[in-house]
Symmetry: C2
Subunit: 192 residues, 2 copies
């Protein structure tokens, strides 16, 4: 009966996400967004909604990508400890080489306190991150790869919150060695 939407919504969300990621929610203007997305604001409001709604979609998109990564790693046939150590090393790489910090962390501090929907998305993301760590730690314990004299739930919780501080440290000091040494200590705690 009528015309179809002209732009690729997924691609537009991706572009918007990159801007929000870099600048944060409040420092990003609607013009910044429509420029990056290459669409008119009328199209944006017609299809996705207002700035808040767009941000929610972007955070959701960001956490969806993370989930895919965790699922892929959990499906690996390598030993739990190997997967865990590999994951830590890749996390360090991302912190050191990434242009911007983790969008989930930034959004937790800037937006989650004011926007319940964003908060819920981040809570779900954090729980998946926890579960990923818990599964690996628990399996590694059961296989005797790491010591099992500590509650795996506690370790997963503790480690899960550890990354955040590494991001802050790297923003302030831009010192890759610092991050690498902390990661090494992290691994050592598990294995020894």
């Amino acid at each position: 009966m009528a015309r179809n939407v002209e732009f690729n919504e997924t691609l537009a969300i991706q572009k918007a996400m990159e801007v929000f990621w870099k600048k944060g929610y409040n420092a990003t203007s609607l013009r910044d967004l429509t420029d990056a997305m290459q669409i008119n604001s009328s199209s944006l409001y017609n299809t996705i909604g207002d700035k808040q709604e767009l941000f929610v979609r972007c955070v959701q998109h960001y956490t969806d990508i993370r989930k895919q990564d965790w699922d892929k790693r959990l499906a690996s046939k390598r030993s739990p400890l190997a997967v865990l150590v590999d994951y830590i090393h890749e996390a360090v790489k991302i912190i050191i080489n990434g242009e911007d910090s983790c969008m989930a962390v930034k959004s937790a501090f800037e937006v989650a306190t004011n926007d319940e929907r964003v908060k819920q998305i981040l809570v779900a993301d954090d729980q998946r991150s926890y579960q990923f760590l818990y599964d690996l730690i628990k399996n590694a314990m059961d296989k005797g790869e790491i010591r099992d004299d500590e509650d795996p739930a506690l370790l997963a919780d503790y480690f899960n919150s550890t990354w955040t501080g590494w991001y802050e440290s790297y923003i302030l000091h831009k010192d890759p060695v610092k991050i690498k040494r902390m990661a090494q200590y992290f691994i050592k705690q598990l294995t020894k």
Copy 2:
């Protein structure tokens, strides 16, 4: 020869700091600030400067207060380990009972990447925090209060970045038990 400034600058900075702390830099408007400070914007621009300058002064003020606390604790005559454990417990209390997260952490993620002066203030603050932890850990090791098979500099670095994640966790889950359990594990790592 002429009139003096009418308002109490320290008090005004304190009030501005509270607003920035709660809302963040970008979400705070000049009106929000002048309302809280109870001064006219002309007075603000005459004495302190623009929004950025005011924010710099507020972050400086925030970190000054922290420095005072560390100095006081370091001057204590109690054992290093007792001071450290006490500090951790108070940090947990602040996370759990505080209305807002740490302003230094929030500002690191929101502002430090764009404002070199803010970044430098936070770097200095972080180094003092590190030094505080290092001194206590080193002294505790020398006194045989804690094991000394680990590099105190590494431990100080690691623990220094740990708090940040606790703030994020509390924003998302509002779970005091989670934070307390992590703090307990933290202390256990040192002492056992």
